[in-house]
């Protein structure tokens, strides 16, 4: 099979390889130096060690920060995905005026700099006397994640023939069962993708966290704090390498689930 599109294209191949190198080589330095037997990040490499990973293991604050980020990430991803499902459903299923304006409004945080939202929220919360905590960080992350959730879910709902839900009602199922038996399984890949995406965004978000963190730091806040201490740096690298690995695994999982969903619906 050698269709026109499948014919090899030398220039494109070179471009693709260069693109991947520029994109990923800097990132690959992180795991590389996390195994390097020196506290300085520079060449030549000094030899292989697992010392930094060992040290990481014993450091209580790192694990606390990681746990904080996971907690915020889980809650934010679930809430933003649930809100995203409701928004996408409302946008695609109802005939309402000003729908376009509403979508633009929901997507706005994508283009408004995080620093503006961060400052605004900080001012608002302190005026209201709300103490800064992981809850306030979560609130900030929710604002950032919601447009991503809606953007991920909207195409799923748009490509969804509304007569599917009517057919379910026609066959005797009420709204709740129709949602579980038809809507949910059909948009499931979108929901998984949205959960993974919003979790990742919340997990490495820095600006909002910078303004809104109380005494419990999230992981990016903690890492940023450690950068001032060269001694701590290699174990931060070790942590980063672990996160990198988990992120890759999650992204591949999300891709696989998404592709599988599309195959089923084709």
């Amino acid at each position: 099979m050698s269709s026109y599109i499948k014919r090899p294209n030398r220039a494109l191949q070179v471009y693709a390889v260069l693109f991947l190198i520029v994109l990923y080589v800097p990132v690959l330095f992180i795991p590389l130096f996390s195994f390097n037997d020196s506290i300085y990040v520079r060449f030549p490499l000094q030899g292989f060690t697992l010392q930094w990973y060992g040290e990481l293991w014993t450091r209580e604050p790192v694990w606390n920060a990681l746990w904080n980020s996971v907690k915020v990430g889980l809650v934010v991803s679930v809430i933003s995905t649930v809100l995203g499902v409701m928004a996408a459903r409302a946008i695609t299923r109802t005939r309402m005026r000003g729908k376009g304006a509403l979508v633009t409004f929901i997507m706005m945080p994508l283009v408004i700099p995080g620093i503006i939202f961060g400052v605004a929220l900080l001012v608002l919360l302190s005026r209201m006397g709300v103490p800064l905590s992981l809850y306030t960080v979560g609130l900030g992350h929710l604002i950032i994640c919601l447009p991503f959730a809606v953007a991920t879910l909207l195409p799923r709902f748009e490509g969804f023939d509304p007569s599917m839900e009517e057919a379910s009602a026609d066959l005797g199922e009420n709204g709740w069962w129709t949602f579980w038996r038809v809507t949910f399984p059909m948009v499931m890949p979108g929901i998984v993708a949205s959960l993974l995406l919003t979790f990742t965004i919340s997990f490495d978000e820095f600006i909002m966290a910078f303004f809104l963190t109380g005494t419990d730091p999230t992981l990016p806040m903690y890492i940023w704090g450690q950068l001032r201490f060269p001694k701590e740096f290699p174990s931060v690298l070790a942590m980063a390498a672990l996160i990198l690995f988990v992120s890759f695994a999650l992204v591949f999982l999300a891709q696989w689930v998404g592709r599988k969903g599309l195959e089923d619906q084709a």
Binding site: D161, S163, M164, E166, A167, S168, A169, D170, L171, G172, E173, N174, W177, R181, V182, P185, M186, D264, Q265, A266
Partner: protein, 367 residues
């Protein structure tokens, strides 16, 4: 009228979307076990009416009764009707068997009984052994059958079908028409069938409602619609029709006639003609009700005309003749059982005699 003739009763139903009126004051009854069609051009409100029967839209005015129950407070999932959607709406995440068994959840059947029922349905739609196929491996015709089976397995009192054959190619469509008709006879369920194809409606239906602009123009059997259409709109929607304007001529109680453009004076019985002297009327004649001859017939009504064009159509030919006193040519259809007039082909401009009998004249409501 027996109760089973009013199995579905639509009473003064109107439906508006904002300022737009999609359905205007429709009243009609559909009998139990009937194959009933809604026929009309695209946009005339057929789907809207069907969706009101299914419960997806509620009438702005009026009431629908099914089996003597008012439907206004009954949601779609509690109505004794099932629908075959125009897009079929086969669930893509379920295989064929699970699609067909979808509505059985509440019946709480044993798995074996369920599988047996699905298998019966697959036999009925002539797709035995297809239970484990994926929904995306099906052709259009197969999807249509599965949508049918998925609805029929629930034994609804009424099956609603929204242009179910519209997406199929001509050959498959004709085959499915025959199967659908046979299936309806077999299961004995009332079918309400939407189509914009007059031939399809005529072939399949016990009765047809002709719709236009949100109104029902006429409800009748296929033969009734063809032979005695009430209005010009219905007459021209189904088949070809010649229309003539005319005036009533009366002379005493016993004598009545119509003086029609191009056709001269046509004597009528007083039973056929109730309008007073001088009243304008509109009459119509189907092309096959005329006969053609080279010479003036010995008896009966006839006028002389000239052949404008003709079209050979296999088992019959269609001729267009211009007659004095009428602007548009008259369409005449004649079977080609033996070639006309002793074998010689008709040429354009040739003079021919048109004859007809007064019984074949259709009186239309003047609109």
């Amino acid at each position: 009228m027996t109760p089973s003739d009013r199995f579905i009763s639509i009473r003064n139903v109107s439906k508006s979307f904002g300022a737009f009126t999609a359905i205007e004051e429709i009243s009609m009854d559909i009998g139990q076990g009937e194959f009933f069609s809604l026929l009309g051009a695209s946009g005339c409100g057929k789907t809207t009416l069907l969706r009101m029967l299914a419960g997806f839209e509620s009438p702005t005015k009026g009431e629908i009764f099914i089996d003597d129950q008012p439907m206004s407070d009954v949601p779609p999932h509690h109505r004794p009707v099932n629908m075959v959607f125009q897009s079929y709406a086969i669930f893509p995440h379920l295989n064929v068997g699970d699609n067909i068994a979808y509505g059985l959840r509440k019946h709480k059947l044993a798995a074996a009984r369920r599988a047996e029922m699905v298998e019966e349905m697959l036999d009925l739609i002539k797709l035995p052994g297809y239970g484990n196929r994926k929904a995306n491996e099906l052709s259009g015709g197969q999807r249509q059958r599965i949508a049918l089976a998925r609805a029929l397995i629930l034994r609804p009192k009424v099956l609603l079908l929204d242009e179910p054959l519209g997406a199929l190619d001509k050959q498959l469509r004709e085959q499915m028409q025959l199967e659908l008709r046979a299936l309806q006879r077999q299961v004995g369920i009332t079918f309400v069938f939407v189509t914009h194809d007059q031939e399809e409606a005529l072939t399949l239906s016990d009765r047809i409602a002709v719709m236009s602009g949100g109104k029902v123009l006429q409800v009748d059997t296929p033969a009734g619609l063809y032979e005695t259409p009430r209005t010009r709109a219905v007459a021209s929607f189904i088949g070809t029709m010649n229309f003539f304007r005319g005036t009533v001529r009366r002379n005493g109680a016993a004598m009545a006639a119509i003086e029609a453009e191009g056709l001269g004076t046509i004597p009528m019985t007083t039973a056929q003609l109730t309008k007073p002297d001088g009243a304008p009327v509109q009459i119509a004649l189907r092309p096959e009700k005329f006969s053609l001859s080279a010479k003036r017939p010995e008896a009966g009504l006839a006028v002389e005309g000239r052949l404008c064009t003709s079209a050979y159509m296999g088992e019959r030919s269609q001729y267009y003749l211009s007659i004095p006193g009428k602007a548009e040519p008259v369409a005449v259809s004649a079977p080609n059982t033996h070639r006309l007039m002793g074998g010689h082909d008709l040429s354009e401009g040739e003079a021919l005699w048109l004859s007809w009998s007064p019984e074949s004249i259709v009186m239309l409501d003047t609109d």
